[in-house]
Assembly symmetry: C2
DNA sequence: CGAATTCTTAACTCTGTAGTTAAGGTTTTC
DNA sequence: GAAAACCTTAACTACAGAGTTAAGAATTCG
């Protein structure tokens, strides 16, 4: 590939700055609470330039939301299996951390609130985030079933159960009450309990797995940073 | 109590009509997508009259949302225990039906989308709906624990698990994709599976309970109205 | 019935904001 | 270094929608 000219470079730079700025403003103020002046200010450029890059507010919004696909996908790449309980624990925390970030929550609120006006966005989000994640979990669970460590009929339901057990309560709370988002300590309660119930219902050797889980959970609460 | 005069009657009538109309319009178009002209039309009266009853759009919105408390509470009154599995099954369906209605989903989207602008609404909703429901489930689960039919440490977590297992997946899907809300048949899959997992993890005699559950589930799918 | 009250109609003000335009400055390219 | 491309500033248009006002019709009450 040939080196990009200065002009092309600038253009890409500004596009990125606009999308970043737009994300911040939209996530904080909602679609109709966001003014194009505010977006221009957040992106550090002028309104006519903004309109040079995106012909309308709606286009900008769509472009921004659809552009998030790539960012979200990164969360769901799964490395290095180290034993089922360990993997599930690690996965649960990775996802919990990602999904419970204030910006992610704002974004989720934004999508949910605007989905009637922009159905495409809801579909894109679902396909890039949850569906993809679910597919990843499903594949992993199938693997563990094949290895005789889990027992279930329907992998999709099992994967959704795992998600629901771990995050449905704190996430629902966070969506409805932005000022009382569960902290790490509360989250640990949900995550550990969710895994516990999942293993009790699905593991072929629940006693062993539960012991491992308690060890991991207590290790995490003692060696806690941030 | 003395009989209301004609004037008072009219006043109450119009207030109700305004709130009903506002609910329909807001739920469908969102807060800022809603115009006061549209509300007046939906309520079947004129704009100046509307402003006589509610001094501003914001006031109307708040009044409408807070007024929903009473309506929502009705769902969560629990009658006639007939055996744990039966009760849980009945409860799960009552709640699923209520919560998955299109209007309820629109409302949830509205609240979530506007909660940053109206934090009070989120708190009121949470307190009147989910929290109240949770308290009801918790009380019921405690009862069954005392009777030796369930085993758990933390009733709140158990209640949230039940909720999450049954409804988190279809509800999340419905929130993000209004045009593909799960139908009764899909819902049955989630509800039955959720109860199954819950019983497997929490029941003291899972085998018996699961048999009962399957009987109830198949009875429901065969004798299905609507 | 007659007076008080409350409604409707229809037009109006005011504000906020999407999107545009023109004049002049800055950066990039050759 | 000069021309092309692109940017900023600042003011502008157009419009939608919240909230108001005044004239007159309909209702309610005594």
């Amino acid at each position: 590939m040939t080196a990009p000219s200065r002009r092309e470079q600038n253009r890409m730079d500004r596009t990125r700055r606009i999308l970043d700025g737009a994300l911040r403003v939209f996530a904080q103020a909602g679609y109709s609470g966001t003014t194009m002046d505010a977006v221009a200010a957040a992106a550090g450029l002028s309104k006519p330039t903004l309109y040079q890059y995106f012909p309308s507010k709606e286009d900008l919004f769509q472009a921004m939301m659809l552009g998030l696909r790539d960012k979200m996908m990164a969360v769901f790449d799964h490395p290095s299996p180290k034993g089922m309980v360990h993997d599930l624990h690690a996965f649960a925390w990775d996802y919990a951390d990602a999904v419970m970030q204030p910006e992610m929550l704002s974004l989720a609120r934004l999508i949910i609130g605007e989905v009637q006006r922009f159905p495409e966005i809801g579909r894109a989000y679902q396909a890039s985030g949850p569906d993809r994640l679910l597919a990843g979990i499903m594949a992993y669970l199938e693997l563990q079933r094949a290895a005789g460590r889990l027992a279930f009929d329907d992998a999709e339901l099992a994967a959704q159960d795992l998600w629901g057990l771990i995050l449905s309560a704190p996430r629902t709370q966070a969506l409805y009450q932005p000022d009382t988002v569960p902290n790490r300590h509360d989250l640990a309660r949900y995550v550990t309990n969710g895994l516990r119930v999942f293993l009790r219902a699905y593991s072929t050797s629940p006693e062993d797995d539960l012991l491992q889980l308690e060890a991991l959970a207590s290790a995490r609460t003692t060696g806690d940073e941030e």
